[in-house]
Each structure stands twice: as structure tokens, then as C-alpha cells.
Assembly symmetry: C2
Homo-oligomer: 307 residues x 2
């Protein structure tokens, strides 16, 4: 799957992943009205609204980008109906040949980590049958529990030729509280990065490992160091746009060949029509605004990509 | 909810939480047969089997214990039907007046963390209505992202009078890879513990905070230090039984009054009938074996509790 991701980035010339993180406040009124008319102001109604909203965006941008990253929390908040919308979104994106990164930030130990890995990347055995629960292509994983937490995901990745991105340095302001603390003269995130590089050696694709890393766009200087520490890890970069990161800040995350990083934008794309810059599209044409925002992001990233 | 938990522990004299972490391999054949007969060897069949299995255990032990801790990964592996079984289990346990700790180990930032908190502890707004998605009483939270990840949970806890347990020192062998690394002469888990104590000051119940901590039974010496660093945090202690922790190791986790800790056992209770000690019950009476195992655990813990 890492090979498919790299091929998709080369083909689209867009190291972009669109974060499908729908909030009801982003969904245009006409979609809300229709969903609530059919299902009422219920969890089912909310789930229908975010699914239709997602579908519109995916239809408008799928040919421009290699991957999407649905954030499962935004679906989980609507309980079971929300998770049904998550699954529908994953399936629909895969039918459009997009690589799907499930932003699930799971992490546990032993058989529990295996259960998450099986549920999101693999197949679970039921009697003589096997079923995929959510069936994303990649997931995000929290490293706090160490190798015991990561190994079960790596095993399933190997089996299914899928992948994961491990949180190394997150994009939020307080990420430094623990991640930046110095251990033997080096910040914790560098120690995590060294582990990521080690874990990844075992599960190599053609040029990059099945195991990548999450490093926030908001910390470009750290990106430079981390790029070197994990030469074979694809870096998933959140924090572009709404969180303040800019294309020109991102050169450090890429390798010389322009590969090695994929930059996420969520509300900057999916709620583009709410920004002044794209307001002309209006709520009815929200998906066209998203398409325009992807094209603008692609241009902005060129500065970093073709450094 | 922390007050309800403490009251329940006092009433049952059992600082015990039963981990409802069903694996299909634990479910007795007669339950599997019935579920597969009705739903086939499908995800729905698996979900029905684990739900019926859980129900039997809860019916057999609910009067002995204050709380249960369903591990969501074990349900999530069966996709949507599995999560429906999770929700049924949560609701059923609450109807039996048990405190429900959702072992979800979520952790993200900002609006995403809020979405998890809303989905698991709070209510989500849909138009003019509000709905609880999963509605546990407590959840477990991963601290790697710092205050940005924890604060949204704390806000919802305050609003709903619910609680959370933050991972401080986990019970697994490789937990030391990052958690034990020294920062300014102290291991990372102590720094996390100090934060937990600080975060918890803002959301106090009667004697304990809404914000507790997870500290593995397998590290009793660390338990001693952590008990002192977080005097108002209830400690959720995994790793008893199957992972090697014993009652006599646990004295350090409790305060002088015998409160301050609640010890989890999962397969040691729910799959007791598979152990030699309880084999006489047989698979048909698996729930009676679980009851016997709870009573034995209670006695074993007395050593620590009445130190």
C-alpha cells in the first residue's frame, strides 16, 4: 500500500491527503435539510448529512489527490450511525481508487493491539469465515506503550501489505509537554523516531517502509532532524493551513527526490467555501470550493516539493 | 461518577473491575452454536456471541463488584456489529448499576479530542436535540499529546460529572521503552503523573478527582512513588492475574484508608472456566466460574487492601 501511495503521489503530483473530518457546522444547509427531512434530527440524520457531505467532496477532488484521511473521532461522536458513515466513507473512497488513511490514533498492547489492527487493517476470523471490519489502507498509531503496542500492527501490515503512521511529533501547541522533553540530551520525539526507523526496517516496500511517522507542519525545524532520522519512513504532515503551517515551511519534510512526505489539510479543504477566499462558490457549490482549495494547496506545496 | 465508584467499592468491599474483553476463543461452544445458528458465521453472529457471553458474566457477578471495563478493541475488531455489542454491553451494565469504564485509550487534540469525549462521555448536538453516542461513565485516555489532548475530556467530565483514567505507566513489558526514560532525573511516567495530579485539581469529587491514572500491577515499586505523586487520583490497575500481578504486590497502589485503587482482571475472570482451578464448572456454567474467580480475587486483594 505504501507503493500505491507513492505511485499516487507521483501520478497526481500532489503530496496531499484530504482530511475528511466532518463537523455538522461545516455541512451546507441544503444537505442538512435533506438528511433531517429523511431521518429527523437524530444520530442517523447527522450520519447521513456527513456522509452526503463527504461524498460531494470526494466526487469533486478524487482525481487530484492520492489519498484521504478520515478522522474517526468525528464519526464516533455520532455513535453507531456515525461509524456506519465512517465505513461508508472508507468504502466509497476506496472505490474511487484513493488510499485511505484511517486517523484512529489507536494504541494498546498485545491481543488488544492485535484486535485494533485486525479491525482496521486486517480480517477477523469468525468460524470458518474471515471479515474485514473497517478495512482502511493505513492507520495512525500512538507509540506511548512501546514495541508491544506497535508490533501487532506491524504484523498485520506485513500480512495485508498495508501500513501505519506512528505519532512522533504532533502539530498541537502542547505537544512539547512530553514529546520535547530531553532524554540523554535528545528530545523524546527523536527517541520515538529512532524506534520508528527500526520498526520500519522489517516491513519495507519498494523505496519506503510500511511504517511511517506523523510530524506536525507546525514544527519545520524538527521536521529537518526527523527526516534524517527516519530516511525510509513516509511522513504524514498534519497542521497545514488551519493550524498555521505553510507550503514554504515544509521543504524539510521532503527528501531530495520530492518524495517522503504527504501533507494533510482538513477544514482548509472540506470547509473551503466558508473562507473568504472561496466564498464566491457559495454553500450549494461547496465541493467546487474544495476542488479549488486542493488546486491552490498543490501550487503552494510546489514550493516545498520542488525545492 | 468518581463518588459513585468509591461508594461502590466501599459497599462491595471489592476494589475490583471486571474487564469485559471477550475473544471468540473464550466463548463457550453452546453460546457460539446458538449465535451462529441465528446469524451464521458472520460479524453479526460473532457480535451476538460476545454479547450473550458478556450478559451471562454480568448476571453472575454484578452484585459483587462496583465496575466493569469493556475493552472497545475487542468489539471494534468485529466492525459495526461488534460496536453494537459494545454499546449493548455498556447499557446493560449500567442497568445493573455498575460503573462502566470504557477502555478506549483515545487521545487526540482540540476538536478531535472533544469529539471523542462527546461520543463516549457526553452528548452530541444534532439540530435541536442531543444524543449520547456510547455513554460510558469513565474512559481511558492516552497522554502523549499533552494538555491539548486531555483538556477537552476534562471539560466534558466536568459537565457530565464523569471521569477518565490517563495512561501513566502501562503494565506491558515494553512500557519502559519511552515511559521509563529519565527526564531531569525522573522517569517520563513521573512527569505524566505530575500533570495528571495538576489536571485533576480542577475536577474534584468528594475525596478523589474525576481524573485518575492507569498504573500497571506489574510495576509495584513504581506504584508506590506514583501513589504519592497523585494523592487524589484513583489508580486503575491492570495486569493483575494473567499478566502476572498478585494481590500482595498491590499494597503500594492503595491509600491508608484502603481506597485509591481499583484492580482490573479480564481473562482471569471472564475465561475462568478455562483454568484448571475452575475447570469443574465446565463450559455450560462458565459464569459461575467467573463468580468464583471474583470471590477468590476479592480474598487475594484483601491482603493489599487491608494492609
Amino acid at each position: 500500500m505504501i507503493n500505491k501511495l507513492v505511485a499516487g503521489i507521483k501520478k497526481t503530483e500532489a503530496p496531499i491527503v484530504v482530511g475528511l473530518d466532518p463537523m455538522l457546522g461545516f455541512v451546507p444547509q441544503h444537505i442538512l435539510d435533506k438528511a433531517f427531512e429523511e431521518f429527523g434530527e437524530t444520530l442517523e440524520g447527522a450520519a447521513e448529512a456527513i456522509w452526503q457531505y463527504n461524498k460531494g467532496i470526494v466526487d469533486a477532488v478524487y482525481d487530484l489527490i492520492p489519498a484521504v484521511k478520515p478522522q474517526i473521532a468525528m464519526y464516533e461522536q455520532f455513535g453507531i450511525p456515525g461509524l456506519v458513515a465512517f465505513k461508508k466513507t472508507v468504502d466509497y473512497c476506496k472505490s474511487k481508487n484513493l488510499v485511505v488513511i484511517g486517523d484512529i490514533k489507536r494504541g494498546d498492547i498485545g491481543s488488544t493491539s492485535t484486535a485494533y489492527a485486525v479491525g482496521h487493517l486486517g480480517k477477523v476470523k469468525v468460524g470458518n469465515n474471515s471479515y474485514a471490519g473497517f478495512d482502511e489502507d493505513f492507520v495512525t498509531v500512538n507509540p506511548y506503550l512501546g514495541t508491544d503496542g506497535v508490533k501487532p500492527f506491524a504484523d498485520i501490515c506485513k500480512e495485508e501489505k498495508k501500513g501505519m503512521f506512528i505519532l512522533v511529533k504532533t502539530s498541537n501547541p502542547s505537544s512539547g509537554e512530553f514529546q520535547d522533553r530531553l532524554i540523554d540530551g535528545k528530545p523524546l520525539y527523536e527517541h520515538v523516531a529512532e524506534k520508528v526507523a527500526g520498526w520500519g526496517e522489517d516491513v519495507m516496500g519498494e523505496d519506503y517502509s510500511y511504517i511511517g511517522a506523523v510530524v506536525g507542519a507546525t514544527y519545520p525545524e524538527m521536521g529537518k532532524v526527523l527526516r534524517k532520522l527516519m530516511p525510509k519512513a513516509y511522513i504524514l504532515v498534519p497542521g497545514y493551513g488551519a493550524q498555521g503551517g505553510k507550503g514554504s515551511d515544509l521543504a524539510n519534510f521532503f527528501n531530495e527526490d520530492g518524495l517522503g512526505a504527504i501533507v494533510n489539510s482538513s477544514r482548509g479543504i472540506i470547509a473551503a467555501y466558508k473562507q473568504e477566499q472561496y466564498a464566491k462558490f457559495g454553500a450549494q457549490c461547496y465541493a467546487d470550493a474544495s476542488r479549488a482549495a486542493v488546486l491552490d494547496m498543490k501550487e503552494d506545496l510546489m514550493q516545498a516539493w520542488n525545492k
